[in-house]
């Protein structure tokens, strides 16, 4: 009962209430909704902390077991504890120009932006190897990608004013139609999955065991 049924019951009650509260504009229901929403946000924060604890455990075991790349685990700990120290022990951690903020702007932001920009090289390289106009579909994909890429840089406009216009058309007509179809399908799928979770049909979140 407590191990499997109670979690399913709690899931059902929380899910049903959150789904129905949109249609009951009574102040008591709205107040309960706001309270439950705060609970969910708090649980999200605790879940994030759980993830960090797992991260610490993984790297702690690497160091303890003297793994070959344990030096990098120390780097991870240095980044983590530097951020935590600056965030929790610096009196004005949230102020612009604080060490916490500066570390975010000069360590986290450059690395993340550079990692995403690296993808430009890999996407271009993958496209060069994979893009072959062997079939009608592949040709359409290739032509649409080429027009959109050209249409979004000044050289496209310099070649012909038709290219930016064609880019806009591709993005707002055939692309929109396809995306709209995908979005409707995804939306219906999300709703079906949500209902399956609330009704206890989908139970993967409970994990294995008793």
């Amino acid at each position: 009962m407590l191990r499997r049924r109670l979690p399913l019951l709690l899931c059902f009650i929380a899910g049903l209430f959150m789904a129905v509260q949109y249609y009951v504009p009574h102040h008591s229901v709205q107040s309960a909704y706001e309270t439950l929403l705060l609970w969910l946000q708090t649980l999200l924060a605790f879940a994030f902390l759980l993830g960090t604890v797992s991260l610490i455990r993984v790297h702690y075991h690497k160091i303890r077991n003297k793994a070959a790349d344990r030096g990098f685990s120390l780097v991870m700990f240095a980044g983590l504890f530097a951020m935590l120290g600056l965030g929790f022990f610096h009196p004005s951690h949230h102020a612009p120009g604080s060490p916490f903020n500066l570390m975010f702007l000069n360590v986290q932001v450059p690395i993340e932006a550079t990692m995403f920009s690296l993808l430009a090289f890999y996407v271009a390289s993958a496209a060069f190897r994979a893009f072959r106009a062997r079939t009608l579909e592949a040709t359409l994909l290739l032509v649409a990608a080429a027009i959109v890429m050209l249409g979004r840089v000044p050289i496209g406009e310099m070649i012909s004013s038709t290219i930016p216009e064609a880019t806009r058309w591709i993005l707002e007509v055939p692309n929109l139609a396809a995306k709209r179809g995908i979005m409707i399908g995804v939306g219906l799928g999300m709703m079906a999955t949500s209902l399956k979770i609330i009704l206890g049909i989908e139970r993967a979140w409970m994990g294995g065991g008793d």
Partner: protein, 287 residues
């Protein structure tokens, strides 16, 4: 320029170069930056989540008896409403103790169920109803004289004229083999197709100009129906459904191509930004 600015920017430059070193191959510099960002990100978001959620919703009400800037009573309703999510949050950590790991399912049930329920209505509204409403634009334009309702009419009609030409050429050459009788026959087929395609373009343009029909709206509806037909697997893709699904593939491929091109350009834009950052750093020494 302040010395601290130079130091912080130099750190950013070194880390940027560490990440770019991966273009050569996986190496210790890249791994250093990679592990550093994992730790820093985890620390950053932990601090943010703590101050945004745990501190105001649990720590301050329960231990400092203060919620939203107002004093609350120990053991009162608001105090309990703050204590419960804190206790539920702590139960998540039961997974580290195998004998009582199942207790962690209670907060997880509330969390998963709550967000599943919370999402149903907005998802239905934004992803289904709004999209269907947007797709239900009038196929025939009802406007006053001189008003332009279909800004894409010219491109759409050109594209449709080209499609008529391409389909007719393909049908006559590949299916009817009319071009196999010689080069003159082939040129004749292509010329005839071009005339029909151009004729189609002229007719569609006239209809658009007279606001009789919005070809772009029709194309959007056909594309949407085709895409939905392609993803409908309850029936075999034959006959009308098969034809619609085939049209859907065409729209999907153009859509994927457009998304690909868009993504590549956004990554290139980021790359330009990073290179600009490096150039600005070099410029710091000359200023």
């Amino acid at each position: 320029m302040e010395f601290s600015t130079l130091i912080w920017t130099t750190i950013g430059v070194i880390l940027t170069l560490c990440v770019y070193s991966f273009l050569y191959k996986d190496n210790p510099f890249y791994k250093f930056a990679e592990h550093l960002v994992v730790g820093a990100s985890a620390g950053y978001y932990l601090v943010i989540y703590y101050y945004n959620f745990i501190d105001p919703n649990v720590v301050r009400p329960v231990f400092q008896l203060e919620h939203g800037g107002q004093a609350i009573a120990l053991g009162g309703f608001e105090w309990w409403m703050a204590l419960i999510p804190g206790l539920l949050g702590l139960l998540l950590y039961a997974r580290f103790f195998p004998k009582i790991a199942w207790v962690g399912r209670w907060p997880l049930g509330i969390y998963v169920g709550g967000y599943a329920g919370l999402g149903i209505s907005p998802v239905m509204q934004a992803r289904v109803i709004d999209q269907m409403r947007a797709a239900s634009s009038p196929l025939a334009s009802i406007v006053g004289p001189g008003e332009v309702v279909d800004p894409f009419a010219a491109v759409t009609n050109t594209a449709l004229g080209f499609v008529i030409f391409a389909v007719m050429t393909y049908f006559l050459l590949a299916k009817r083999h009319l071009g196999s009788r010689g080069i003159a026959a082939m040129i004749g087929v292509i010329a005839a197709s071009a005339v029909v395609g151009y004729g189609g373009y002229v007719v569609l343009t006239a209809l658009s100009a007279a606001n009789v029909v919005s070809t772009t709206s029709i194309l959007l509806v056909v594309g949407l129906l085709g895409t939905l037909a392609y993803f409908f697997f309850s029936l075999r893709h034959t006959g009308l459904l098969g034809g619609l699904a085939r049209i859907g593939i065409v729209f999907l491929m153009v859509g994927f191509g457009a998304s690909f091109g868009y993504t590549v350009m956004s990554r290139i834009s980021l790359l330009i930004g990073r290179v600009g950052f490096l150039i600005d750093w070099i410029g710091m020494f000359s200023s």
